[in-house]
């Protein structure tokens, strides 16, 4: 099982703060997000539009990074901290 967390505009559009996805065998962040799309009404292209960042256990990673049971993935829309 991995937990996928959503923030800001993505959280509002998905309608969830997070979702748990069971995994079996070798799985990447991209695989998990495809599963999120299958199990919700959310489009793949919406979760992976090309300009988002993804964190695995609170570190930025690419979509191809492998995930393990117990990991936390976060979908990060374009950042706007600062001022």
């Amino acid at each position: 099982m991995v937990t996928v967390r959503f923030f800001a505009s993505i959280k509002e559009k998905v309608g969830l703060e997070s979702i748990d996805i069971p995994i079996n065998g070798p799985t990447s962040i991209r695989d998990v997000l495809n599963r999120v799309a299958n199990e919700t009404s959310v489009d793949k292209a919406f979760l992976m539009p090309g300009g988002f960042l993804y964190a695995l256990n609170q570190r930025m990673e690419s979509l191809d990074t492998p995930v393990n049971d117990g990991d936390e993935i976060a979908v990060l829309p374009p950042l706007s901290g600062g001022f």
Binding site: R5, F7, A8, S9, E12, P49, G50, G51, F52, L53, A55, Q58, R59, M60, A74, L76, P77, P78, L79, S80, G81, G82, F83
Partner: protein, 138 residues
């Protein structure tokens, strides 16, 4: 040690505390970001910052460490507020202490530039007609 906090901060007190950590401090460069009244032509009522708190705190600490490694400075402090903030109020503070002013300016500017690309924090603007997330969607 970086801080992510709802409460406001006292700029003078933070500068003094960091400067007093080292008597070798000669130059202190500070960047303070506050809430502007206008954003892209819209009058702002207030803003709200959401964060991925656990990650943002770790990344802010890393940002301080990276600044200290990259530049010839003594110390670096970063504070970022979250939650609702009204016009004119403080958002973010970066304080860099150094024996050499040029390194302090470079480090402070680098740190605010980096912060915007690395720290998982999102801004929501509230105007007279509604609210929206500030994201340059691809």
């Amino acid at each position: 040690m970086a801080r992510l906090q709802k409460e406001n901060f006292d700029v003078g007190k933070e500068i003094r505390a960091l400067a007093e950590k080292s008597r070798g401090t000669g130059g202190i460069v500070t960047f303070l970001g506050t809430v502007r009244d206008i954003s892209k032509g819209h009058e702002i009522v207030k803003i709200n910052f959401e964060s991925y708190a656990d990650m943002a705190e770790k990344e802010l600490d890393r940002l301080e460490d990276d600044a200290k490694e990259k530049f010839d400075i003594i110390d670096c402090l970063v504070i970022h507020r979250t939650g609702e903030i009204t016009v004119g109020e403080n958002i973010v503070l970066i304080v860099v202490t150094s024996a050499h002013r040029s390194a302090a300016f470079d480090a402070c500017e680098w740190t605010i530039d980096e912060l915007k690309t690395r720290i998982p924090i999102w801004k929501e603007e509230f105007t007279a007609t509604g609210k929206h997330w500030v994201e340059e969607h691809p």
